[in-house]
């Protein structure tokens, strides 16, 4: 049955298959050809798929850098195979050090600090001052690594809600993402916000149902309007329906008073 389907009909099936638009019967017929290793079917399909790639290539659009950053963080935080999540992969790749990257960096940093201390003591007390600085540096590094590890833990937890916040009237082009985990807290990343006036700050609010907005921290933005905020777990707050950002006095306020710049509902 090598040549029951050919010519125009074969190309019709291949074109529809490349587009993912074949109805059940036609799709089954074409997949049978592919499974049988039909060279014409594969060639036609391949050419039509290349054609669609060219169509797509005519209208590229640069994605915002946040996507790449999130992907790299995700990759750094999880090994390729174990993260597949569907359990269907039975052949694990050789495991790579990626899995333990942050642990390794942390251990390395601590080891470096300890080694420096040992050497310093052996050489001379005149290094005492320097040692102290190194110790502080190591402690700061450790704190920073712990902070990053907690951020990564939030990013890779499936229970983490991701809420997109859109700009409102004062800053329609502003955007933000809130990653929220009821036990671990969350991370807000905002872009496109106007500079903060003297004595003011942006304040994040978490709103559940009809409840009053719960203050979730204040932040400012850099010269290009980008800011971020690490939010600790909020006592009594689990599921959040709306996140919003208002402009408030720099120290923050217990209930919102200023204009709202960003808001987003969770899905």
């Amino acid at each position: 049955m090598s040549r029951e389907i050919g010519g125009e009909e074969l190309r019709e099936l291949a074109a529809g298959y490349a587009l993912g638009s074949l109805d059940g019967d036609d799709r089954a017929r074409f997949e049978a050809l592919l499974r049988a290793g039909d060279r014409d079917a594969r060639r036609e399909l391949r050419q039509f798929e290349e054609t669609l790639a060219r169509v797509a290539a005519e209208r590229p659009e640069a994605p915002p850098p946040a996507v790449k950053a999130a992907l790299l963080a995700r990759i750094a935080a999880a090994p390729r195979v174990a993260a597949a999540g569907d359990g269907s992969r039975v052949v694990p790749l050789p495991s790579r050090p990626r899995r333990r990257i942050w642990t390794a960096v942390l251990a390395g940093a601590m080891a470096a600090g300890i080694a420096a201390i040992a050497v310093g003591l052996a050489v001379s007390t005149r290094y005492e001052r320097r040692l102290e600085a190194l110790g502080q540096e190591a402690a700061a590094l450790k704190a920073e690594l712990e902070r990053q590890a907690s951020v990564l833990a939030i990013l890779r937890d499936p229970a983490t809600q991701v809420v997109a916040l859109n700009g409102l009237a004062p800053s329609p082009t502003a955007r933000a993402r809130m990653m929220w985990h009821e036990k671990a807290g969350g991370i807000l990343v905002a872009t496109g916000l106007p500079p903060v006036p003297e004595g003011k700050a942006y304040q994040l609010w978490a709103i559940a149902g009809q409840g009053a907005p719960v203050p979730a921290g204040v932040f400012t933005v850099d010269a290009v309007g980008t800011g971020s905020l690490r939010v600790p777990p909020l006592p009594g707050v689990t599921r959040v329906d709306v996140f919003a950002v208002t402009l408030e006095p720099a120290a923050g306020v217990p209930a919102p008073t200023g204009p709202m710049f960003l808001a987003g509902k969770s899905a």
């Binding site: 125009e8 190309r11 019709e12 074109a15 529809g16 490349a18 587009l19 993912g20 638009s21 074949l22 109805d23 036609d26 594969r42 060639r43 391949r46 050419q47 039509f48 798929e49 290349e50 054609t51 669609l52 790639a53 060219r54 169509v55 797509a56 290539a57 005519e58 209208r59 590229p60 659009e61 640069a62 994605p63 915002p64 946040a66 996507v67 790449k68 999130a70 992907l71 790299l72 995700r74 990759i75 750094a76 390729r80 195979v81 597949a84 790749l93 790579r96 990626r98 991701v162 997109a164 859109n166 700009g167 409102l168 329609p172 955007r175 709306v242 709202m260 808001a263 987003g264 509902k265």
Partner: protein, 189 residues
Amino acid sequence: MREENPVSAATDLIAGIARGDRSAFERFYDLHAALAFGLIRRIVRDRDAAQEVLQEVFWQIWQDAPSYDPSRGSPEAWLVVRAKSRAIDRLRAMRRREQTFVAPVDERVAAAPGNRGDDPAMAAEDRGLAQGALEQLPGPQRRALELAFLEGLTQSEIAARLGEPLGTVKTRIRLGLERLRAAFKVDSA
């Protein structure tokens, strides 16, 4: 023979990704993210949803790189097939949600720009400012192709939508794609 083409840089990068090389992944992303994102945006429109789909597509690339087979097509085509199918999945999910419930949306959120297909840049494109090969096809071929490629409809759904016989739709899709294939000189394998 396409095999006469030198093994492309992109193919090397996929091989690197398959070995778990993160810098290869980063370079592949830098080279191809705009290709995928442009297509995803044309399908799902919403910028935030498109970013999520893009991340899922490249996450899948990271996971699936070992299964890439260069004899089946270029890395670009491999990526586009994935981007298209993920974006269509997302589009269908968004439509289901719109049809099945009306959320008591905070009005300020609903009124915020960029939530739906009202992005000025997209609107400009829709007014025909961007002219690609697809836009230059005869109207009926273009329409059928767009309904399949950008809206995710099956051929029988397209026939119902356009009120045309199924056979006519199949022919238009074939003729349209063949014309594009010739325009892009994607021939001989």
